[in-house]
Symmetry: C2
Subunit: 635 residues, 2 copies
């Protein structure tokens, strides 16, 4: 965490100084806004937190509810989401209050008496160390609380506007705020009355029955039949020994997915109520909780479950459905028209809760669109950047639906339908990278390079998220995770992995560093807005092959020790070396000739290039960035 | 973190339900209180946080300042303090915003040109893994903020009463609240006027010039001469390469202790201004900051230091002084009279800032007296328990003074006075356990047993703090630090390390467990207050020698799976096994015949006994606990 550089901060350093629109942000919803977010779920709240880092942009978020979410809904947090929380500054805090999944147990009918279940397997969660972050369970309400704090404590000081419901929108052909949105007061003295707001962009994060989606004529397509679940968050007395371990329970009488919850006592029980057809007309929703508890007891035999307190429960049906496009641009106009309205999260994709995916994929939708809107609305990128959102995220949603269909079909199988008892647990282990959130790989585009030089950094696959590794930070000798320094502040990261020479010696790295700082055509020179700090757009770091004692800060090129802020202080935290016994070059397959690894603001690897490929580096950024007027700068 | 067991908690689980006096705590200072804390420094604020866990006790804390501390004062946080923060629930949060010391560099005159300094050594901080917790630097103001949050969020809802200064006290011979305290308003409409408050106990945490100390006739004894320091928290531009590493700099022109501060930019510079005699009459305090900066530049040659912003600075003189007793009981009445007034922190001991000890030792003073007051005021212990405070802490303070004298004398030596250039860094490494806070070892007393059975658990020395080790928590398969489950909730911990048999087999462990639950003379039966949960006084855990898959929760004795709370739910988090490849029995030298390890509420090992020594266990607790009326209980 870096602070004090604008002067001493006495209080919580997580509260950043207000700036731009955040300095005097109106409490009431204004008549115009740059961005209007509809819905305060995981996608919408992450988006608000991200845009709070762009304080010159006006962002408002409307929510139908009169206040914060209290209970219920999603609870599965994959490692990729914790990695994302780290970038927003609250991974440690939420982990401390979460349930941590370290294994999953499988129960199936006892072959000696198929009416009773026995434990048939235990699989370690993330046995291959896919991530340094844990797999958590914590209620969605708390995730939203943390994003709300991040949005409020960011320079933009964004807080949700509760009590407004989205009614409809019209996109005009002209004007600075072409999207006219009608909203209705759901609470307070004006309850029931409507008003309009004009926005540059609208993002619908308003759930499976999204009115924003409907307003742009998109539909969820997929299953006609639905699967019904009874779900309950309960405090219980039971002799079932695995009540504090995540379990998939298959019995002759149906199946249960058991998710222990944060705090040591509560658990969520998903009890399978079977498939229902379209002709059920939601009859299943009137299933009483007593039926769900009875069903759970039937499945759990020979164990029993006594419910002492019900925190929340629901019966719901869900199908596997996805929208074909996540913005308002007709499919045949994709290359000609820039979008104005986007949808994200459950508004785009619905599926079973079985794999604990929904909240996670939704947050990544928000992370994807967030920096793009920020980049465009601050004039750093052309509006065409926004076209990449739908293309990148629709494919991920389709993958999710496909995966979830396979997983939930398998979980709904009767025990005798499996070829072998370990089929379910084998599938769980074999596909672990997907539910952990790390299978996403974006295709080449204006913001994702081709793989011509991938061999220079085999451990950083282009298009996948930057998988952090440890290095030593030279200035304070701290062994740190290189990637954890990157915060969700909208900046691009450029990691310069050095060739063999050390600091102070002539090398490909030192030539690159000089060019990066002073070259007429370097990205820093061409794209960093005039008057901004030299590292405001590109956060440029160096990792030397030498260990700590081989690196003298006095010999490190200036681009890696930039001055900034009102006191023009040096940022010392951009210079790294290899750790003894844990060499990042080996860990991530980095060439000993060096490499430049470019990482997007949402943590995805955008490009890998040789240190010599300076023109290619600038050309890559020129695809998605506007030239600044600056042509020269001094450090 | 455990919660939800009294029903669903929607918001931050760190906010515990209000109870007792916390339910309707008056905002204004009342006329009577059980405990009156004077001063909101580290000792006082920890004490308030601790007593918030005893909500039936009325606790008020008065502070002369009108509000929270903004800046300045101590910043060194030893690992023992971070361990303490963990018990109060904020180790992760404060670590995330702190500077972490991983090495210390030593600079001395260049033999080729003694007017210039060169780096002469680098020592790893905690090379021997004394603790799993880091060594931090973070401003005292933030430490106090976190304790303030803990005090406010605890069941007692304690908040400081700002704007009151302690004037004096009288101890009466009788009455429920025998200590009559006069306080003066320092702010607000009543500024300058005085009033009285009656308290059962008063704790003076009011600093080096403690008025509470004076009121009980104690004095600080020690040095007559003082050492003067210029200290400044500054943002700088410098070519000194180690500005982000802790450094001891010895030059021909004087010495500097450089402490990089949290946030990546700020640093604290202690610049030695030499010894001053009593006849200086504080003249040295008028040294201007320009002189300190000039002195720093002289010492740093060939490097230069330009100060861009001064966050805080001060000139102070300090001697090595300690009080002979930390309460109001005359030395010759120690065995006959119970104390009513205590002093803690700088009120008892002052010394140099060089070893970064002050705030840390002060906090342990508060931790020591806190649970004892709680225990007595809830009727669980006789008042004689309070006599142990002065005896335990005065010796620690004397050790601190002795250590600090040696260290600061060494740091003030001229380079040519050292026998060899590594003398300073060798001393630093050799004595690392002391400044890390782990040398404290309490002597045998009513709350610290003798060493007759120490060989059963050689890694848990009696009288020293319980050094945690890792184990697997059976219920959720999480590998965890056994000691991190212990919170500063005033409970005693009893760790039952099992003999070789597993759960469900007859063994010394299972016999002990049965006795502990049902035996007429077991500590649980004799001392747990009637009507309280079975684990309200003793938190009893078991650690089996078996690995995870050898432990079936269904076979574990009931004392380790107690029911509690309004829904009588099972606490599953008391049953542990050995980790594969990291066996706690080996790590801590536990006998394979088992052992009972007793740990005090302030985390110090109180006793080690065989599983068979049931009478001895009860006899030990009988020394410091009152019998409850309960003679039988059911689980």
């Amino acid at each position: 965490m870096q602070f004090h550089h604008h002067g001493y901060v006495s209080g919580d350093p997580r509260v950043q100084p207000a700036a731009g629109r955040g300095v005097d942000r109106p409490a009431d919803l204004p008549d115009t806004t740059d961005v209007l977010i509809v819905g305060s779920g995981p996608a919408g709240m992450l988006l608000a937190a991200q845009l709070s880092q762009y304080p010159t942009v006006t962002t408002r978020l409307i929510e139908r509810r009169p206040g914060r979410l209290e209970i219920g809904q999603a609870d599965g947090i994959q490692a990729r989401s914790v990695e994302t929380f780290q970038a927003f500054g609250f991974a440690e805090a939420i982990t401390a209050e979460a349930y941590q999944i370290t294994s999953m147990n499988f129960w199936s009918p006892n072959p000696d008496d198929v009416t009773k279940i026995i434990r048939s397997g235990r699989e370690i969660d993330d046995p291959n160390g896919i991530s340094e972050f844990p797999h958590l369970i914590v209620n969605q309400a708390r995730v939203l609380d943390y994003f709300a704090a991040s949005a409020k404590n960011g320079p933009g000081r964004i807080q949700p506007d509760y009590g407004y419901e989205f009614v409809g929108l019209t996109i005009h052909d002209e004007g600075e705020h072409p999207v006219e949105v009608t909203v209705r007061h759901t609470a307070g003295p004006h309850q029931g009355s409507t008003r309009t707001i004009r926005a540059k962009y609208v993002v619908g994060c308003d759930g499976a029955r999204s009115a924003v989606r409907e307003s742009i004529g998109r539909t969820l397509d997929g299953d006609q039949a639905f699967h019904a679940w009874g779900v309950m968050d309960v405090l219980t007395e039971t002799d079932f020994p695995d009540v504090r371990t995540k379990c998939a329970i298959q019995s002759e009488f149906g199946s249960i997915l058991l998710i222990p919850r944060e705090g040591g006592y509560l658990a969520r029980w998903y009890v399978d109520l079977g498939e229902v057809g379209a002709d059920d007309h939601h009859e299943v929703r009137s299933t009483p909780i007593e039926t769900i508890i009875a069903k759970a007891n039937e499945i759990l035999q020979p164990y029993t479950l006594e419910v002492r307190n019900v925190a929340w429960w629901s019966v719901y049906e869900v199908g596997h459905r996805v929208t074909d496009k996540f913005d308002d641009v007709p499919t045949d106009d994709t290359d000609a028209v820039d979008p104005r309205v986007f949808i994200a999260g459950d508004a785009c994709h619905t599926h079973s809760a079985k794999a604990g995916q929904g909240m996670n994929v939704s947050m990544q939708d928000g992370f994807n669109i967030g920096w793009k809107l920020g980049q465009v609305l601050t004039g750093r990128s052309p509006e065409s950047l926004l076209r990449t959102y739908s293309g990148e995220r629709q494919e991920i949603a389709q993958n999710l639906i496909d995966f979830d269909k396979e997983w939930s079909t398998m979980m709904a199988k009767k025990p005798e339908e499996f070829e072998n008892p370990k089929e379910l647990s084998d599938f769980y282990t074999a596909t672990a990278e997907f539910p952990a959130g790390f299978m996403t790989q974006y295709r080449p585009s204006m913001i994702t390079g081709g793989g011509e030089h991938q061999e220079l950094a085999t451990g950083f696959p282009i298009g996948k998220r930057f998988k952090s590794a440890r290095a030593v930070r030279v200035c304070d000798t701290n062994p740190v995770h290189l990637g954890h320094h990157a915060r969700a502040d909208g900046r691009w990261r450029i990691y310069a992995f050095a060739d063999a020479a050390g600091p102070g010696e002539a090398s490909a790295l030192s030539a690159w560093a000089t060019w990066m700082l002073d070259g007429d055509n370097s990205p820093v020179t061409r794209f960093t807005p005039e008057g901004d700090d030299i590292d405001s757009l590109f956060d440029v770091k160096v990792i030397y092959q030498q260990k700590l004692d081989g690196i003298d800060l006095g010999d490190v090129p200036t681009i890696f020790l930039p001055h900034g802020g009102p006191f023009q202080l040096v940022d010392y935290e951009k210079v790294y070396g290899a750790l003894e016994g844990d060499d990042i070059f080996d860990e991530r397959g980095i060439s000993r000739d060096g490499a430049v690894v470019v990482v997007r603001p949402d943590q995805y690897v955008a490009h890998v290039l040789p240190l010599q490929a300076t023109d290619e580096l600038t050309d890559f950024f020129a695809l998605s960035m506007n030239d600044s007027s600056r042509q020269q700068r001094t450090s």
